[in-house]
């Protein structure tokens, strides 16, 4: 399985396989060194060394050019000549974070290092989750790898249902939504306010379908080998607050930041009271934004979410008092709409190629409104996508899991799965180039 995973990764570019293997070996030995160190300062020293190396590699590949640009801009110089012309290794942010959690957990004595180097390499490099998550924890995966058994019939059933839903989300929703998003974001000056808003709404559909689709495919593929990966999404667009949104969106990343950054920060700032928590939130979301990409726009994206969480934290009681008179359902609908609106707005910073595009969107959306005759067509298209997304989310919500397809009568299951697969396969044969997963770039 390790060989298959490495083949899968190296298929894209074999040179980055060296990095993956090197990083895995390094952290395996750091884990042992931390565990075996007799004194706390020595454990800490090994941990710091491990963090410095892991983050150093990540900084080098992902953030070097960004820091050079930022440094140059602050002195009014263009330092483009210092740029590194290298490709970003696929999934580097994901597997680096997994490795970090392993060494930190050993340092915190929450985990004992594995004795099997192969199991560790498989934990980091197992193909379903390696390139775009979910960011799994060693404590969840290593025991499963150590006792791998022949998958049960039901594992295939669950795996198939997850992959079916994931493929539909990724190929027929995410990739096809991108046809609109990419064009409008590439040339926004030629589109009216209503068309720009459409592109933003479609991006929300695209990124959700793309990433949730990937996560379902990853979980389904792992299930074929009898391995359980954690849920990464939990109907995020039903969230009634931004705080709740981050409990439902990219759950593995949110919990990683919660465990390894937010909680230590809260402890450090404990003397500052509520302000300390607010600071911890802002810092956490600053880094969460930066994790997504090396650019100011990702930092703004993170900070906007940090700001929203801080706002919700400070005004929780006040809001309850202010809107308490509303019936619960009405309150929930309004809260959900407000949350979705804010989330969609923040996606603008995430998706826009540069600050000029952001400014143009903001201007057309909030200042100079224009409309066009084809807007009705476009919103009809958006609505169709929206219904498709909501139908899947509704069934997931009702059954409280993503494997709802596995639980129904086989005749009905195949009655649903076959038309979906036919659509997916036919579409894949019509396209010139397959669309990569959005989160591959991270």
């Amino acid at each position: 399985m390790l060989a298959a995973s490495y083949f899968f990764y190296g298929y894209w570019d074999w040179r980055f396989l060296i990095l993956l293997v090197g990083s895995s070996l390094m952290d395996y030995y750091f884990g042992l060194l931390i565990f075996k160190a007799k004194t706390k300062p020595l454990k800490k020293a090994w941990l710091v060394f491990s963090l410095a190396l892991n983050l150093g590699i990540l900084l080098f590949f992902k953030y070097f050019n960004f820091f050079i640009d930022s440094f140059g801009a602050s002195f009014g110089n263009h330092l483009d000549f210092l740029h590194l012309h290298i490709l970003l290794p696929v999934g580097i942010s994901f597997y680096t974070f997994q490795s970090l959690s392993y060494t930190i957990d050993i340092y915190r004595e929450k985990l004992s290092p594995t004795k099997s180097i192969l199991d560790y390499c498989l934990f980091v490099g197992i193909f379903p989750h390696m390139v775009a998550g979910p960011i799994v924890r060693a404590k969840d995966i290593l025991p499963q790898l150590a006792s791998l058994q022949k998958p049960l019939k039901n594992d295939f059933n669950i795996g198939f249902s997850l992959i079916t839903i994931g493929m539909f989300q990724k190929v027929l929703i995410g990739d096809t939504a991108a046809r609109f998003v990419d064009h409008i974001f590439a040339d926004p000056q030629y589109y009216s306010s209503s068309e720009l808003l459409f592109s933003l709404l479609m991006f929300a559909i695209q990124i959700y379908a793309d990433f949730a689709g990937y996560s379902n495919i990853a979980r389904g593929s792992a299930k074929f080998f009898g391995i359980d990966l954690i849920d990464n999404f939990n109907q995020p667009f039903f969230s009634k607050s931004i705080t709740e949104f981050w409990r439902r969106w990219h759950i593995s990343l949110s919990t990683w930041f919660f465990d390894y950054l937010f909680n230590p920060l809260v402890i450090s700032f404990r003397n500052w009271g509520r302000f300390g928590i607010a600071m911890a939130l802002m810092i956490t979301f600053f880094f969460s934004g930066l994790w997504h990409g090396a650019g100011t726009k990702f930092i703004i994206f993170g900070l906007l979410h940090g700001f929203a969480l801080t706002f919700e934290f400070y005004t929780k009681k006040f809001r309850k008092k202010l809107f308490g008179f509303l019936p619960i359902r009405i309150n929930a609908i309004i809260s959900t709409l407000l949350t979705c609106t804010y989330v969609v707005f923040t996606w603008l910073f995430f998706r826009a190629a540069n600050n000029d595009v952001v400014m143009l969107y903001l201007n057309r959306l909030f200042v100079n409104h224009t409309t066009s005759t084809i807007s009705l067509d476009l919103y009809g298209i958006f609505f169709t996508y929206f219904i498709a997304i909501m139908v899947i989310d509704y069934f997931e919500l009702k059954t409280k899991n993503h494997e709802f397809l596995a639980q129904i009568n086989p005749a009905i299951k195949f009655g649903i799965a076959i038309p979906l697969w036919v659509g997916v396969i036919l579409y894949m044969y019509t396209i010139l180039k397959p669309m990569p997963f959005i989160y591959f770039q991270f």
Partner: protein
């Protein structure tokens, strides 16, 4: 469930409606009143009108005699379904010219993908010129026009050819093509009439077409098999001479409506000096788009008029910037030369 997915495929334009149909008289034409979508190079979302044209819905006869009616003839460049209709160059001509002339300007976009002068002119003389009020024709020429289409035609439409007395006669060879006969046979089978209304069938049709171009192995197994060379845009110059039929068609078209025809010369995809030489020697009116482009770029800028950022392609057509440039250029040219046209009732 199949019906749900089928509707999803249609409503989201994943399987767009088929644009073409076969007319008994003219061959391949655009279908009327359909929702159409294209995103291979740029993005187009819109509908055809009652006559299969894009962008406008003007009635055949002018509602106000003072309205200036311009008809565009050409191939896919003119049809322009790589940009939204509001960004098509026809829209710029209407907006700029109506402002300058202080009267309503209506531009009919009669461009059709893959059409050449041989097919265009047949459709124009036998259909468009009879049905529509036209004041001015902008006839877009291009490299493929200069050849003698002979007895056949790459585009399945009725075309003009020359008989032994140098007269224009109708050529209908497209009716003998296996493709047309298959199409007729399929449509005669009742079950396949569902084809036009089925998202699955349309998708299947496109999948087969793509597989034929790219190869089953390459699409299925990707990297293990060589991909066919990407269709990309290449500069080329043709030094071929104009064929007899082309000269005859240019001469005939130039006299339409007392000479209210302007040739528009394109520098791409194939720069063909013979067209300009012939037209200028004959003193026909023409605008040369090479005056507003520097190779791929808009003149005196670094803005590429042919590159589609979202798809990272040079498919061969104008992008939004290109349409804006062409529209502005043509509107200004028409305005500058307005007095040279014989159009009673139109004074600046």
């Amino acid at each position: 469930m199949s019906f749900c997915v089928d509707y999803f495929l249609k409503f989201t334009r994943i399987s767009a409606a088929t644009l073409k149909y076969y007319d008994d008289e003219y061959g391949s034409l655009n279908r009327a009143n359909i929702s159409y979508f294209k995103s291979v190079e740029g993005l187009f979302v819109g509908n055809t009108n009652y006559d299969g044209r894009f962008r406008e819905n003007y009635s055949p006869k002018k509602e106000d005699k003072k309205t200036l009616r311009i008809l565009l003839m050409g191939d896919s460049f003119v049809e322009g379904i790589d940009v939204f209709s509001v960004n098509h160059f026809a829209q710029y001509i209407e907006t700029i010219l109506s402002k300058k002339l202080n009267r309503k300007v209506e531009v009919l976009n009669c461009g059709r993908g893959n059409a050449t002068i041989h097919t265009m002119s047949y459709y124009f003389y036998n259909y468009l010129s009879k049905k529509y009020d036209i004041d001015l024709v902008l006839l877009f020429t291009e490299g493929r026009d200069i050849y003698d289409s002979g007895d056949g035609n790459s585009y399945p439409s009725t075309f003009y050819k020359l008989d032994s007395f140098n007269n224009l006669v109708k050529g209908e060879n497209w009716k003998n093509t296996p493709e047309y006969n298959l199409h007729k046979k399929l449509l005669s089978m009742p079950i396949l009439k569902y084809y036009e209304n089925s998202g699955y069938f349309r998708l299947l049709y496109r999948a087969i077409a793509r597989t034929r171009i790219q190869g089953f192995k390459q699409i299925t197994f990707g990297k293990f098999f060589d991909a066919p060379k990407e269709l990309n845009y290449h500069n080329s110059t043709s030094h071929d001479e104009l064929s007899r039929i082309t000269k005859k068609l240019y001469d005939t078209l130039s006299t339409f409506n007392k000479g209210q025809v302007v040739f528009v010369l394109r520098n791409k995809p194939t720069y063909t000096p013979a067209i300009e030489e012939y037209i200028s020697a004959k003193n026909y009116k023409y605008f040369n788009l090479a005056d507003t482009f520097d190779d791929f770029n808009i003149k005196n800028t670094k803005i590429d008029a042919y590159y589609f950022k979202a798809t990272n392609t040079y498919g061969g057509h104008w992008n939004n910037d290109g349409h804006k440039t062409v529209g502005t250029f043509l509107a200004n040219k028409i305005y500058t030369h307005f007095n040279e046209f014989v159009m009673p009732g139109y004074e600046k």
